[in-house]
Symmetry: C2
Subunit: 764 residues, 2 copies
């Protein structure tokens, strides 16, 4: 391309061809006319004619990237256009061609000019008026940065994958006036509005997407997750209420119960005829579910369980749907029968009648105003010897017969507990995907604003758009790359979760825990930076950051506190590590040592640690090796430290606590390997086109800004040397600049409906 | 101390002495009795008698640190106490002493026991009941971590400095029921409440603290700043409304106007009889004040200025007090007279009459709901050829006579502009100090909760308090050290600002810009971590994080966007750097090179970069050298890079943009040197007591966690080697553990009134 654009005769035609293609007005007869003309012009070289002809093929029109490049050349080389002095496309072409050497003068001969004027006339674009308006709109006013180097909808297709249909359906629903945002209403009105929205979605069959078809559902949990993700472009109270009702409540019955429960409850849960809660968390035991204190004691006399809150710390707390709308609740309690405690089990308990009256022996309190999500009615529940029929024990993993005999296919209490909880991992997929949508909304708003908003600038020139400032790029664009990285990783997690078997359950649990933590922290951070990047405008409620920030803030806490989850990830990695040695013993150790040595020889040699060339720094193999080296190193040093503490006689709780900071680093390193791998695999699966070219830049920005973030660690480990570390910083700056030119296209590809974005600074 | 506690006879007395001193019940006759008895006991060695006697001096009672140490020894060595089996203090003493060698058996002879029982009896603390309750409250239930190693109120004294009186007065006012928080009210009600609060403060003379006494003020700007800081323990809408009225509005008249304006406006501004606005910011020019477009054109025919908004981008935006209450506004506009634009000047303009009706030719619009600070009525103002008397030009720096002749003591428009703006730097002091108070509130709530809240733990033991987890310490305690660091630095900034002369005006402007940015970013980050550290409890509005987060979020934007301010700091440093060379020329360069070389020899040698001993790592000289080295290095490399760009012909705007990321790093490095220095100077000025011992730990945590944060940079610069970097990480972990034991005392020393904190998880 560069070569073709150095041919003066080709340059002469550039404005005409740009205008023709930009408006897509080239008819077959017009093309024929131009081709005929070009063929006969003696002032054009054969090579030039060939190039021009190749640009006139209607089956193979210039790509957006090509058009963009033409525009750059036109703007860079035509003073008259920039100063509003142009008369015609032909004049502009001559002016552009005349820049440079003597050879170019042939483009301004009367003969050449005549040809150009006639072509311009033939295309019907002559005349001051049409030209002015064309240039004004297309060239003078449109920043180059609003024209992507790729087809935005092609990227959208890749992001949406197989679920484009359900995504489109939900976007259409959300764009209905019924779903207009409510603002400045009180908590009660807001809660009713959110309930109403949920009912609309239930009516459209969105709520029951994940339930079996025989109970009125859509039979596709994958689509349920996608629905939740798409809904998250809208109000997040809606999403959480939706998730509580159809996910936590309905799916706990689906996954922990058996057919009889499904028949009894699922259809009404999916239609929202039966509003329900998920009552697991207790005041005294936020993250420590195993030690909850609510009891469910079997009474053989009546074949009932007695649900009871033994003390105030054991009240159920923060239960969504409880303060106002819930009629049933899946209640988690210690199952006691024949004087024996078999650990935590789930029961379906009525808490209100269908007129909304709280039932006897149940006390419910409103959690009151929260930092965000005030459209969700969180409450506290106390049970005072509440009797429920024995059949309402959700008995997928254990049952109690009428004599009070307990049976379970899983004999260990501990294993049964983790199996039960494992089935509920879905919540750890829905939340980060919801958070990611919120982050995408924030990025779309901030990047569009940054592209338009101008402040300061060079003396005598127009002020500079915020997004042209290096600090602005540095703030937003690595986070944009994180959003894509997160998208592919969460899609992978969903697939793994849906295909899980007993064999990989623990791995997937760790994966979900880690990606939930990584992704929701990233969401909080992203929305914060975006708010700040929009300055005072970002502080106005109408521009959405108020809601996005407040509503997602709790995502780092619920469905498992992120710090606790990261320790779970680390422990899972340590178990893998231990097994590796246990199972294959001496041979395993030898192999491990050999693999470590191999890493050292291949990577940690004076040449590799000092390489600063782009070829190396942009090599996905280098990225993956670096990410993996970090994970492996932290894993083995953490294992060593733990072992030392245990050998010294420290109890294991304290030993883990001593290494806790270390373990959280391990979890980050592990999860980042997964994310990087998924980004790489996604790129490998993409066709070689403009979209891929653009996404490779985004990928590189992700990979290198992660390595840069940990440069302290890499330098400390002698994995990279100073010069390499500095080269990475420079490259991140360059990549920011490159991604900046596609930034608008990249956020447009998220394809968030205007009604959802709603922010006046981001939509017209 | 350690030595004394190895004497068995001394240990025997420890429980008795602890209880006696902990309750402060030792009367002279009791002391005499004990002393007499000790003197005659032959089973005690002379050394033991001496020690015991030294602990009975009423003029020199044991310090809190000593008491705490005693308690640790008692709890660590007495099984019976920990298991609730003790009968008496004497028994406990014997038990403690009996741990260890043969020599200790003498402490359990009948003779020794008799003596101990009699002393116990003499002190009137005998008997199971009194003992049980004493141990229950004091030892069994009180975590060691709630007993500071220092006198909290002594630290409060140091924090409050000379202003303890006004701080106390304001805390008393805020604890009045009138100032109870309002929640879940609509915007309009909230705004009226905030206005009412401001009136109460005005009535108490708090609003006019900074105005000259002759106009009804307190004549002390320093106290005004302290008032704002103290008010910030309360509702932040109140603080901002207060700041707009008494600071921005009143002080702009005070500082930009002259006597005639003071006479006309100040008293009514201070009493809030005249509610006013500060109308500087325009929609189109958020940070770029110099280019605002509102005009003030002099009309000699009527001796008036005509205030006009020429286009929609030039409307005044985000103006506090404008939407509802303001009657006057200090309006910033381009002064035009005789067809000549003299740049931005300030004018007093009426916008509403005193019944609250908007005046003709003025349009005011409500900014509507915001992310936070919804008790402040921000609005937009348009002026349509509004005429004001010429006398309402605030003419401290320029005046226009009745013929339209412009005069100013400062001939350069640019210098005049910056001088005017410089006088308004006060806003950049009030905001970070307000933000710091909010951060202190958040830390107090999170640390108290972390000390109480237990989750998980070693098998069979009580669950562990959150603050005993290493990750929890790592999250909160470096931020606690930042709060102290910020406190001393902002106090220094205030002093410098109040004593400023023309000579150091630019330095102070940069200092204010940098500390405002550093401190408000730190506030946002601190409150976020504290919210997360409190989990779901932190998300309930009643626990205050909702308000603290939302209300302070804009602090990083207003009074100058932080990123813009950091560039101002960097440019100021570059100017210094340039002057250093310019002024002293060749000699300067030689000197500079010599000083750089000296650094290299002293610090960057293989011994210094590898030192990992505590003596070195905890040496304030090492810290200061490291901070300064960083600043100096970034400064000279930024200067070099800029110069290269300029030499290549880049225009200066673009050259600065190319280095922008670099320049922000420079600003951070510079500000952190200032902060470190002020922390060090504060410590140097403190008496050698327990408070200082505690604060040295906090200081070390601050200094080393900053160096750790930049370890990538230091390693890249070869300033430290891997081993040293790792040693610093370990030391930060240790310091977190040490500071953890004083954490409750440290936040108690902030001395925030319970009514202000209000969070149920933090106050009883």
């Amino acid at each position: 391309m560069q070569e073709q654009l150095s041919q003066p005769g080709v340059l002469t035609f550039l404005p005409i061809l740009y205008v023709a293609w930009a408006d897509a007005i080239l008819t077959p007869s017009e093309i024929e006319k131009i081709e005929e003309r070009i063929k006969n012009e003696s002032w054009l070289s054969e090579l030039e004619k060939e190039t021009l002809s190749s640009w006139l093929d209607p089956k193979n029109p210039p790509s957006p990237a090509t058009l963009k490049e033409w525009l750059t050349v036109i703007k860079d080389n035509s003073d008259s256009i920039n100063e509003g002095k142009r008369k015609s496309l032909a004049d502009a072409g001559v002016e552009i061609a005349n820049i440079g050497g003597d050879d170019n003068t042939r483009c301004s001969t009367p003969e050449a000019c005549k040809a150009l004027y006639e072509i311009e006339e033939a295309l019907g674009v002559i005349g001051d008026e049409s030209l002015d308006s064309l240039f004004d709109n297309e060239i003078a006013n449109t920043p180059l940065t609003e024209i992507s180097s790729f087809q935005e909808h092609e990227l959208t297709k890749i992001l949406d994958g197989d679920h484009a249909d359900i995504i489109k359906k939900i976007k259409t629903i959300l764009s209905d006036p019924t779903f207009s945002y409510v603002r400045e209403v009180n908590k009660d009105t807001y809660r009713e509005k959110v309930l109403e929205w949920c009912k609309h979605l239930a009516n459209q069959g969105i709520g029951s997407l994940g339930y079996p078809k025989e109970f009125g559902g859509g039979g596709d949990i994958a689509r349920y997750f996608t629905a939740m993700e798409t809904l998250s472009y809208h109000d997040l109270s809606l999403v959480i209420k939706f998730g509580v009702q159809f996910g936590l409540f309905g799916m706990s019955i689906m996954l922990l119960g058996t057919k009889k429960h499904h028949r009894k409850y699922l259809e009404d849960a999916g239609s929202l005829k039966l509003p329900g809660c998920f009552a697991m968390t207790e005041t005294g035991h936020g993250s420590n579910v195993r030690d909850i204190e609510t009891t469910a004691t079997f009474d053989p006399a009546t074949n009932e369980f007695i649900i009871h809150t033994p003390n105030d710390d054991a009240r159920k707390d923060y239960i969504g749907n409880a303060a106002k709308h819930g009629q049933k609740a899946t209640v988690f309690a210690q199952l006691i029968t024949k004087g024996q405690n078999y650990g935590v089990h789930a029961f379906v308990v009525s808490i209100r009648d269908n007129s909304g009256q709280t039932l006897p022996n149940i006390k419910i309190e409103d959690c009151g105003e929260k930092l965000g999500l005030n459209g969700v009615d969180n409450g506290r529940i106390w049970f005072d010897q509440v009797r429920i029929p024995a059949i309402d024990l959700l008995d997928q993993f254990a049952s109690v017969d009428q004599n009070g005999n307990y049976t379970s296919p899983i004999s260990s209490d501990s294993k049964r507990f983790f199996t039960m909880l494992g089935t509920l991992v879905g919540g750890r997929i829905g939340i980060p995907r919801a958070g990611l949508s919120a982050a995408k909304s924030a990025l779309t708003i901030a990047i569009r604003y940054g592209n338009k908003r101008r402040q300061f600038g060079a003396a005598g020139k127009q002020e500079t758009p915020l997004l042209d400032y290096k600090t602005h790029q540095r703030r937003l664009l690595p986070l944009l790359s994180n959003a894509f990285a997160s998208h592919f990783a969460l899609r992978y997690l969903t697939d793994r979760f849906l295909q899980q078997s007993e064999k990989d359950a623990r791995e997937i649990e760790a994966l979900a825990a880690g990606l939930k933590a990584w992704s929701t922290w990233n969401t909080s951070h992203t929305i914060q930076e975006c708010r700040e990047a929009c300055g005072g405008k970002g502080y106005l409620a109408e521009n959405r950051f108020a809601a996005l920030k407040a509503d997602t803030d709790i995502f780092t806490t619920f469905e498992g506190d992120n710090t606790v989850l990261m320790q779970l990830v680390a422990k899972s990695r340590l178990t893998d590590f231990k097994q590796e040695f246990h199972e294959i013993n001496f041979f395993g150790i030898v192999k491990y040592i050999a693999s470590q040595a191999a890493t050292t020889i291949l990577e940690k040699n004076p040449i590799a640690t000092r390489r600063t060339d782009d070829e190396h720094l942009l090599d996905p193999e280098f990225h993956l090796a670096a990410f993996k080296y970090r994970e492996r190193s932290i894993l083995s040093s953490a294992a060593r430290r733990l072992k030392n503490h245990l050998d010294e006689g420290m109890d294991s709780f304290e030993a883990f606590n001593q290494c806790q900071y270390h373990l959280v680093q391990l979890a980050f390193a592990y999860i980042e390997v997964v994310i990087l791998e998924q980004f790489q695999l996604t790129l490998e699966s993409m066709p070689e086109d403009d979209v891929k070219v653009a996404m490779v830049k985004v990928y590189n920005l992700f990979a290198l800004s992660q390595i840069e973030k940990y440069k302290g660690w890499y330098l400390e480990a002698d994995y990279i040397e100073s010069a390499k570390s500095k080269a990475i910083r420079r490259l991140v700056n360059n990549l920011c600049q490159k991604v900046r030119f596609d930034a608008i296209g990249l956020v447009n590809a998220f394809d968030i409906p205007d009604q959802c974005l709603s922010a006046p600074i981001a939509v017209k």
